[in-house]
């Protein structure tokens, strides 16, 4: 019969249905390996049960909570309830923010497009001039063209 290790923790926790529990116990009666595993897992359950409790709260635990509750109630509870009960209150500000964001993106994109086009126009202008000299034959030549403005600016 197939080993029953996957069921052993549930067996120890009393979480197996009766029919499955009977099958697992029948297997355990004849399988030393699964019995050893059950003992190993049972030892974990015992250790966890024996784990000492953590340190108790510092004195004034309840009072600190009630003080915090009073502070939060003083400021927010009505707001919590309004927000929870009126989801449409979020809708108008959210729509406004969304529209503003869309406009900002569109403006930014348009500006970026204009800048890119301007760069290309500059390049085209220079390219036309240089191309007439039959001097643009390679990518390196294009690189030179893109820097013609700098050369122009360097002239006295």
């Amino acid at each position: 019969m197939k080993h029953v290790r996957e069921d052993l923790t549930a067996l120890l926790d009393g979480a197996l249905p009766a029919s499955r529990r009977a099958e697992v116990e029948a297997h355990l009666a004849g399988c030393g390996a699964c019995r050893a595993e059950r003992e190993r897992l049972a030892a974990v359950l015992s250790a966890c049960a024996a784990l000492p409790p953590g340190p108790p709260p510092a004195p004034g635990f309840e009072q600190r909570f009630y003080a915090r509750l009073a502070r939060e109630k003083g400021v927010r509870p009505s707001a919590w309830r309004r927000l929870r009960l009126s989801p449409w209150r979020f809708a108008v500000p959210a729509a406004g923010l969304g529209a503003a964001a869309a406009v900002a993106v569109a403006v930014w994109q348009a500006r970026a497009d204009r800048l890119e086009m301007a760069q290309h126009l500059d390049l085209l202008e220079n390219y036309v001039v240089v191309a007439s000299l039959d001097s643009v034959e390679s990518a390196e030549d294009v690189e030179v063209v893109t820097h013609l403005d700098e050369l122009r600016g360097a002239k006295p």
Partner: protein
């Protein structure tokens, strides 16, 4: 099903009875802090988390339905809150190979081992506690939550499934895998029955 007195208190609070909410906090607040200590190391932080959880309970009272056990509702809030805290990573338990005689943190020794504990028992309790912390820190979050709920809160698998929004077979697998991991991690502290006294 036996009537759930906590559910009655929660329903009373829904109806505006603040004293009912206080009764719930006085009954479960300290247990909630102990639960939070399985997710964060510092007691002060655990207290803060327990306060957060009860504030969430206060705010979400109108979402409670009497068809659910109160503890299921409470631990669902608590588990989500603690796992979020762990995810933030700010208070993850450290893997601290601390010296065997303690790690220098303030501890309430009486609470660790009881008034009758011998020094050896106290040292054993502290070492076991450190091993459990290290184990919990290393577990995947759902295994960790399932293990804590099963091993330390004594919650049945069906209730854990509701708390974790999963199925009972999934809980069975989560708890088993975590327990197998624990068997390896806690081996020095878990003498097999046949070895005891040897």
């Amino acid at each position: 099903m036996a009537p759930d007195p906590d559910a009655a208190l929660m329903l009373a609070f829904q109806g505006g009875d603040e004293a009912a909410f206080r009764a719930l906090f006085e009954k479960h607040g300290r247990a909630m802090m102990a639960f939070c200590q399985k997710f964060v190391k510092e007691p002060a932080r655990a207290e803060e988390l327990a306060q957060d959880i009860f504030l969430k309970l206060y705010r979400s009272a109108d979402r409670y339905s009497a068809s659910a056990r109160f503890t299921t509702f409470l631990y669902r809030i608590a588990t989500n809150h603690c796992l979020n805290e762990v995810r933030r990573g700010e208070y993850r338990l450290r893997r601290d190979p601390a010296p065997a005689d303690g790690d220098g943190e303030p501890q309430d020794l009486d609470s660790l081992s009881g008034p009758a504990a011998t020094p050896e028992e106290e040292a054993h309790g502290r070492a076991l506690e450190r091993s459990v912390r290290s184990l919990l820190e290393g577990l995947p979050e759902k295994q960790r939550a399932a293990f804590v709920l099963a091993r330390f809160e004594g919650m049945p698998y069906e209730e854990i499934a509701v708390v974790l929004s999963t199925t009972v077979p999934s809980v069975k697998s989560l708890v088993h895998r975590a327990t197998v991991a624990a068997a390896a991690a806690l081996a020095p502290w878990t003498p097999l029955r046949g070895e005891e006294g040897s």
